[in-house]
């Protein structure tokens, strides 16, 4: 069998239903094989869009996302998408074409050393040098991408490998002697954790993206209710507990809720699950939760003790460990702490000045009108407003580039999420700066009838940088005014064949959102928001979580 056909057959055996990509000379054989396959292919307009779409598909569905690109520039265009998936532990497999093995190293046309380039941003990668290995490599690639701490895997396919004749024996077993993720959690450590929990007077659970990846939300909520402990999430952990749950304190960190930050700062025990204590979550790490002991549950041993010192490390899968932990802890009333945190919740709600046309209002209304929608975000102010004002109810509902912070991620990711869930409403909360970074995928949405709704919070600025310049750089607005108030997103959308709308004042917001929700086609709404709106509260750079400031 031609190796290209074997590759496509292997993808079918892995249960792959959809691939995002762009064909080209070096991968043309695989595309030829795809022509006869039941796998849907979505041709994006840029390879970065393809990798983000595969990533969005993976995050929304929990399945592995797949992208195809050709060699050289096709491959290098995937790097941002791969790095984004890597930082947020998202399972994608990227297949890149490569020049024939005989030409590798000769600087042939469209040759790039993509395995060398992506080494630091993939969980693993392969350059196939013998066609006989290609099937076992594909098997390994999907296994590595989707197990343990998930992540992107790249498989580089030289053209002569794809044309070679091989036997189709898709391996059932995997031979990876150096790869055995620990899942169960050590019983002694779990017992020690339970002991600390029972002693604690002010326990807080800090839930990260790992809870969502591990499908451990049910176990998390059960543990929280049993102890009981308030649950603070990281940005990536949003959705691990419904944010309407009485024990939910929303997300912590630089722009998190005041009460989440206060609770972490004052707690005497943090039960961290599937999070990596990133600087955006901890604030000044030297002053992070000074009185708390820390239990850290993570599947990746390298995350434990990397950024903060940990008292009880537990290496294992969040779902399994949380379930075991729940069995060994008992309910204990901690009224004083409960009252204190609830008092913070009452006293310091998220708020904003309601004069003019505020972006927060748009998000609040979007939440009221489309509470079950899958929400993706771009990066910057739009991302933080979305995180603050869209109350996430279920896991995989909120999709954002938390680690790499990739502007241009949200829109193609929304496309991927919509492909995974055609019946759901999928919205991308965007800024004008971010939306431009992958706006070309509007053409893809129109072509494949992917009815993503893009809410552009258009302030004409690279707003988060503008905010920092205002607050910390004496209002010297260097290079942040991009003048998108002059750009007509409505007309741009129409030019692509999508639906465009412009909303200039708060009174028009509801009608536009309701209308958009009912349209079974891609929609772009240009919200002409107050450009001076900033994201608050905020932990200033270098400050501790306790020093979170308001607008005034």
């Amino acid at each position: 069998m031609r190796a290209a056909d074997a590759i496509v057959k292997a993808l079918e055996m892995e249960g792959i239903e959809v691939v995002f990509g762009i064909p080209g000379g070096a991968i043309i054989e695989v595309y030829d094989a795809l022509y006869d396959s039941g796998i849907q292919h979505i041709t994006t307009r840029h390879e970065q869009g393809a990798t983000h779409a595969a990533d969005g598909y993976a995050r929304a569905s929990g399945k592995v996302g797949v992208a195809f690109t050709t060699s050289g520039p096709g491959a290098t265009n995937t790097v941002t998408g791969i790095a984004t998936a890597y930082m947020d532990s998202s399972p994608i497999v990227v297949f890149t074409g490569q020049v024939p093995t005989s030409m590798i190293g000769n600087d042939a046309f469209q040759e790039a050393d993509i395995t060398g380039i992506t080494m630091p941003v993939t969980k693993h990668n392969y350059l196939v040098t013998d066609a006989k290995d290609v099937l076992s490599i594909i098997k390994e690639a999907f296994h590595i991408a989707s197990t343990g701490r998930p992540g992107p895997v790249l498989v580089d396919l030289p053209k002569d490998i794809t044309t070679a004749d091989i036997d189709f024996n898709y391996p059932k077993k995997i031979n990876l002697p150096g790869y055995k993720p620990k899942l169960e959690g050590h019983p002694k450590q779990i017992a020690r954790a339970a002991e600390l929990i029972m002693k604690a007077e002010r326990p807080v659970i800090l839930a990260g993206g790992g809870v969502i990846i591990s499908n451990a939300s049910k176990e998390l909520v059960e543990l929280a209710e049993t102890i009981p402990a308030f649950v603070v999430t990281t940005l990536m952990g949003k959705g691990s507990i419904p944010e309407t749950h009485p024990l939910s304190l929303g997300f912590a960190g630089m722009h998190g809720t005041k009460y989440a930050n206060y609770a972490l700062s004052e707690s005497d025990l943090i039960i961290a699950v599937g999070c990596r204590f990133s600087d955006r979550t901890t604030g000044n790490v030297a002053m992070f939760a000074p009185n708390a002991k820390i239990i850290h549950i993570d599947i990746d041993p390298a995350e434990i003790g990397k950024n903060v010192n940990v008292d009880v490390p537990i290496v294992g899968d969040a779902k399994k460990v949380l379930a075991k932990l729940k069995k060994v802890v008992e309910y204990k009333q901690r009224k004083e702490w409960e009252d204190k945190v609830n008092e913070w919740k009452r006293k310091y709600p998220l708020k904003y000045k309601k004069d003019g046309f505020k972006p927060q209002y748009v998000i609040e209304r979007a939440y009221e009108i489309m509470p079950d929608a899958i929400v993706t975000t771009e990066v910057g102010q739009n991302q933080m407003w979305a995180a603050q004002f869209f109350k996430v109810k279920y896991p995989r509902q909120f999709i954002t580039s938390g680690g790499l912070g990739t502007m241009g991620f949200g829109f193609p990711a929304a496309m991927g999420a919509q492909v995974a869930f055609p019946e759901k409403t999928v919205i991308d909360i965007a800024g004008d700066g971010s939306f431009f970074m992958n706006i070309q995928e509007l053409a893809t949405c129109v072509k494949y009838e992917i009815p993503v709704k893009v809410l552009v919070l258009n302030n004409g600025y690279l707003g988060m940088v503008r905010q920092w310049q205002e607050l910390f750089y004496r209002e010297r607005y260097s290079a942040t005014c991009i003048g998108c108030e002059k750009t007509g997103f409505e007309a741009i959308a129409r030019g692509f064949g999508a639906i465009g709308m412009t909303v200039e004042k708060p009174s028009e917001v509801d009608d536009a959102l309701k209308e958009a929700k009912e349209i079974d086609a891609p929609v772009v709404i240009d919200f002409r928001i107050d450009y001076q709106a900033n994201v608050f509260p905020m932990v200033p750079p270098g400050a501790s979580l306790k020093e979170i400031i308001d607008d005034e």
Partner: protein, 159 residues
């Protein structure tokens, strides 16, 4: 502080690049690195000397363990055999040859090549011994020097 780490990896192309890339990306300092075959032809062994405190070394070990092709990582502590090999081309005029031969014998080193005005001397031993010998040779004029990284093995029977 210096730590010696032994890494058993699959003998596949690109593994050394992965290890080197990891050290560079995470900002770990490699003092020396040696790679070679082992008793099994599908495995290679790297001996890496890394500079850093305990926290750094803990991260180095954990990150190395994360590489898919890594089979085993172990830190080699005090009770181990550690060796380096060094070749030194030293200036050896007739009047100095006797002295140099004597020093070579004291260090249980070997003269492996003799020419009209120089020797090549091979010395093996732990880092201190090799360094001490190099220092002694400086007075005669070292023309060329090639030193391997360290290889190391824990003493006693294999666990």
């Amino acid at each position: 502080m210096k730590h010696t780490i032994a890494v058993l990896v699959e003998n596949k192309p690109g593994v050394l690049a992965r290890v080197a890339s990891l050290f560079r990306r995470r900002g770990f300092n490699i003092d020396s690195l040696s790679v070679g075959t082992t008793e099994r032809e599908d495995l290679s062994r790297m001996t890496i000397v890394v500079e850093g405190d305990d926290k750094v070394v803990e991260q180095v070990i954990k990150q190395l363990n994360k590489l898919i092709e890594t089979i085993k990582v172990s830190e080699i502590s005090e009770s181990s055999v550690e060796r380096e090999l060094c070749l030194i081309r030293v200036h050896a005029p007739p009047e100095k040859r006797g002295e140099i031969v004597e020093l070579t014998n004291i260090f249980r080193a070997r003269i492996v090549d003799v020419s009209r005005d120089s020797f090549i001397i091979e010395v093996t031993g732990d880092e201190d011994k090799v360094s001490a010998f190099i220092d002694l040779m400086r007075q005669y004029g070292i023309k060329e020097l090639a030193r391997t990284g360290k290889v190391a093995m824990v003493r006693g029977s294999k666990k």
